[in-house]
Symmetry: C2
C-alpha cells in the first residue's frame, strides 16, 4: 500500500520542511512534494532538522502551482486550521487517516496538503481538494507545520496498527493459571491460619475473599505467583528462626 504523499505549499521556513520530513519518516511516509517554496532549496536548516530522513528531502519534488503538484493524485485531503467558506467534508485526523488507508488499499493515489506558515492554503488550492482535515486543539492553538505533519503521520500509522490497546510484555511471563493462583491462595491461607492472622473465625471467610480479590486484581504472571510463594516460604522460615533465638 502506497502511503499518502505530503505536499507542502508555499513553505517559508526550512526548519519546518526538515521537521516534516523527520515526522514522515517516523510514521512510514516517504513522498514529499513542495509547491512554490518561499525559501532557498536545497535548504541547510531543512537538512539539519531532517536528521536521519535526508533521503526524503533528496527525493522531494518541486512544482510552481498546486494544479501541477496535485495532478497525479486521486484523493487529496487538506489540513486547515481556520473555518473556510467552502463546502467540504471536514475530517478529524483519525477519520482522514481511515479514508486515506481505505483508498490506498484500493490502489488510489492519495496526498495530504499543508498550507504555508502564515497564510495557510489559498481558496484556489482548496477548491481542488476532496475534503479538509481539522486537528482538534484547545482554544490556544499554535500547532506548527512540523507538528501538523507529525499528527497526521501518527494517525496514518495508527490506522493500521494492530498493537493491543493494553498489554503485558509477554517475554516476561504469561498470566498465571487458575491452578497456580489457587495453589498460591491455599499456601498463603495455610500460613496465615498457622499465624492466627485469620481471626476471629466468623470473619475468616470475608478476610480470605478480600485477600484473594486483592491478589487477583494485580494480574500476576506465572513467575510472579512463584515469587510470592517464595516470599511466603522465606517469611515463615525467618519467623521460626526469630522464635528460636
Amino acid at each position: 500500500m502506497t502511503p499518502p504523499a505530503v505536499i507542502l505549499s508555499h513553505t517559508q521556513m526550512g526548519e519546518n520542511v526538515g521537521s516534516a520530513a523527520r515526522a514522515m519518516k517516523n510514521f512510514g511516509l516517504s513522498e514529499l512534494i513542495l509547491i512554490a517554496p518561499m525559501m532557498e532549496w536545497p535548504n541547510d536548516r531543512a537538512q539539519i532538522l531532517a536528521s536521519g530522513s535526508a533521503d526524503i528531502l533528496a527525493n522531494a519534488r518541486i512544482y510552481q502551482t498546486a494544479e501541477e503538484a496535485l495532478a497525479p493524485f486521486q484523493l487529496v485531503l487538506a489540513t486547515t486550521a481556520r473555518d473556510r467558506d467552502v463546502v467540504k467534508q471536514v475530517h478529524t485526523p483519525a477519520a482522514a487517516a481511515a479514508r486515506l488507508r481505505q483508498a490506498a488499499a484500493e490502489g488510489v493515489r492519495t496526498a495530504l496538503l499543508f498550507g504555508g506558515e502564515r497564510a495557510g492554503l489559498g481558496n484556489d488550492e482548496l477548491s481542488i481538494c476532496d475534503g479538509v482535515i481539522t486537528i482538534p486543539t484547545s482554544e490556544f492553538s499554535s500547532l506548527n507545520l512540523g507538528q501538523a505533519v507529525l499528527l497526521l503521520g501518527y494517525e496514518w500509522l495508527k490506522a493500521a496498527d494492530t498493537t493491543p490497546a493494553v498489554r503485558i510484555r509477554s517475554h516476561l511471563g504469561v498470566p498465571a493459571t487458575r491452578g497456580d493462583l489457587v495453589d498460591l491462595f491455599e499456601h498463603l491461607e495455610r500460613e496465615l491460619d498457622a499465624a492466627n492472622y485469620l481471626f476471629p473465625p466468623e470473619k475468616r471467610e470475608t478476610m480470605v475473599r478480600n485477600i484473594r480479590a486483592m491478589i487477583l486484581r494485580s494480574g500476576l504472571t506465572d513467575q510472579q505467583a512463584r515469587t510470592i510463594r517464595g516470599m511466603i516460604v522465606a517469611l515463615v522460615r525467618n519467623k521460626y528462626r526469630g522464635h528460636k533465638t
Copy 2:
C-alpha cells in the same frame, strides 16, 4: 476535570521543555513538573520555544527525585520507547488517554512521566509508575521529547473530543431535503428530455438512474441544489439565445 500533570525527568535541553509546554497548551494541559533538570533553570531556550505558554513555564515545579515529584499522584503512566524488563501494563497512547480521563473524572490525580533525551527513564522511576505507554512508530523512530508530549496531549484532548469524524460546515447550508432533490432531478430531466439527451427511450431509465446517483453521491446542501437549478436555467436560456442568433 483536572488534566494530567506532565513530569519531565532529567531533561537536558531547554528547547524540549519549551516545546513540551507549547504542546501542553495546545491540548489543554497546564501542570508542568521537572525532576532534576540537567540545564540551567529558568532557561532562555525554553522561553523562546514556549511562545504563548510562558505561564506554564513560570508555574513549573522542580524536584530533585522522582519520589518527591510523584508523591501526590495516584495514577502515573510513563512513556518509554525501549522494551523494559519490567512487568507493567503497556498502553497505546489512546488507551492511556482513556485510562487517565476515566481516573481524572473520578477525582484521581494523574500524571504523565517522560524520561530524559538520551537515557530515558531509570528503572527506579519506572518501578513507581502504574504502567507504561509506547507510541507506535515505523522502524525508524526519532521522536523527540516535545513530539512525545504533543502526541500524548493530542490523545488526551481527543479522548473527550466530540467532533463528528466527518462533517460538513453547517453555516454553509444544511443537506438538501429529498423534496429539493426530486425538484432538481425533475427539472434537469425535463430539460434533458427537451434537448433529446435522454435517448434512445429504452436507455432513458438507466441514464436517469445514473444521473440521480451521481448527484446524490455529491451530498448537496439546499443552497447547492438551488445553485444547480440556476445553472440549468442559465444554460437553457443561453442555448435558445444561441439558436436565435
